[in-house]
Amino acid sequence: MNKVLLFAHLKEIAGKSSLEIDAAGQTVQSLRDKLVMSLGNLDGVMIAVNEEFATDETIIQAGDEIALIPPVSGG
């Protein structure tokens, strides 16, 4: 299984701070495509795997911790 930490408005959409899903063997891109159904538009949302930003081609392993960081524009 994989823990997916959600930040900013993604918490509200999901109604919780993190998700538990099984993404082992998938690329970051395919995870992104899959999460769009539950989390809505993920354009520009940065994805980190094990505290490191990952490219879309990165393959996720079992147990990897994932974080979704949406850019916010306030300042």
Partner: protein, 339 residues
Amino acid sequence: MNDRYSRQMLFKPIGSKGQAKIREKHVLILGVGALGTHTAEMLVRAGVGKITLIDRDYVEMSNLQRQHLFTEEDAQKKWPKAEAAKARLQKVNHEVEIAAIVGHADASLLESLLQDVDLLMDGTDNFETRFLLNDLAQKYRIPYLFGSCVGSFGMAFTIIPGVTPCLQCLLKKLPLQGQTCDTVGIIEPTVQMVTAHQGAEALKILSGNIEAVRKAYVSFDLWHNEYVSLKADALKDSQCSSCGYNATYPYLQEETGLKVAVLCGRDTVQIRPTATKHLSLEDLAKQWRSAGFMVGGNPFLVSVVVEGKRMVFFQDGRALIHGTNHVDQARKMYHSLIG
């Protein structure tokens, strides 16, 4: 030893040598809102040589909750933010040279100012301007301290040209539909948390401690007690159009940036982003309703009324702002709603 900086000089990594370096530096702060007022105050108290403050806006009552330096009187007089900040900061430290520019920061204005600038600080509220800063940082090889926040959530990243990935590497393209302080609010400690990071990085760079610079991207949520520090090296893209081998600095080209046009005789301003965007009108409508605005629309557009002005957004990012001929006001309303 100058007594006023003594506690900063006692801090070993700075010392009297680092303080002398800080004293010679010029920092440009773009945007004098929440982030910009906090970092400006820190730098002026720290004894930097010169700061240039740029902001097109004036002080309003709703700013006072999170924007330091400003008073009720500034809001009553609708004083320009850059000037109000300067007036206060000179009382705090007359030794620092402060230049205040009240106006819209476009590529040509910024390029004319960068000759002797040692550091770019992000105090802006939209990604159009951040991508512009990012390109300038790369073209002129100036470190750029990115920061942003809404609600209790914020982030900071130090961009060193030639060393770290740039904003374009991280985000690939201009994000639209970011949450803004005008739609989901903000608490002041979130601002402080971002500027604590930006400020420490600024002191490292200005005092010549470049090796101490943070390599990781910081993201936190103060309300939910979360803090992550994320390595970003993997995203550095040698083909990046802003920082790659064949960089073209796309946001410095005349044709990029928001296109703003006054529609004659209609009391309306039209705004469109250069690159076509795909807004989710449904998500926008939901967010704005939840922020208490009057929202209407159909599958092709969404309309929203804010402060008596009606705005219509299309899926490609284009917007019509009705009831005004003022370009700056229209631009401000646009950014306040979709970032």
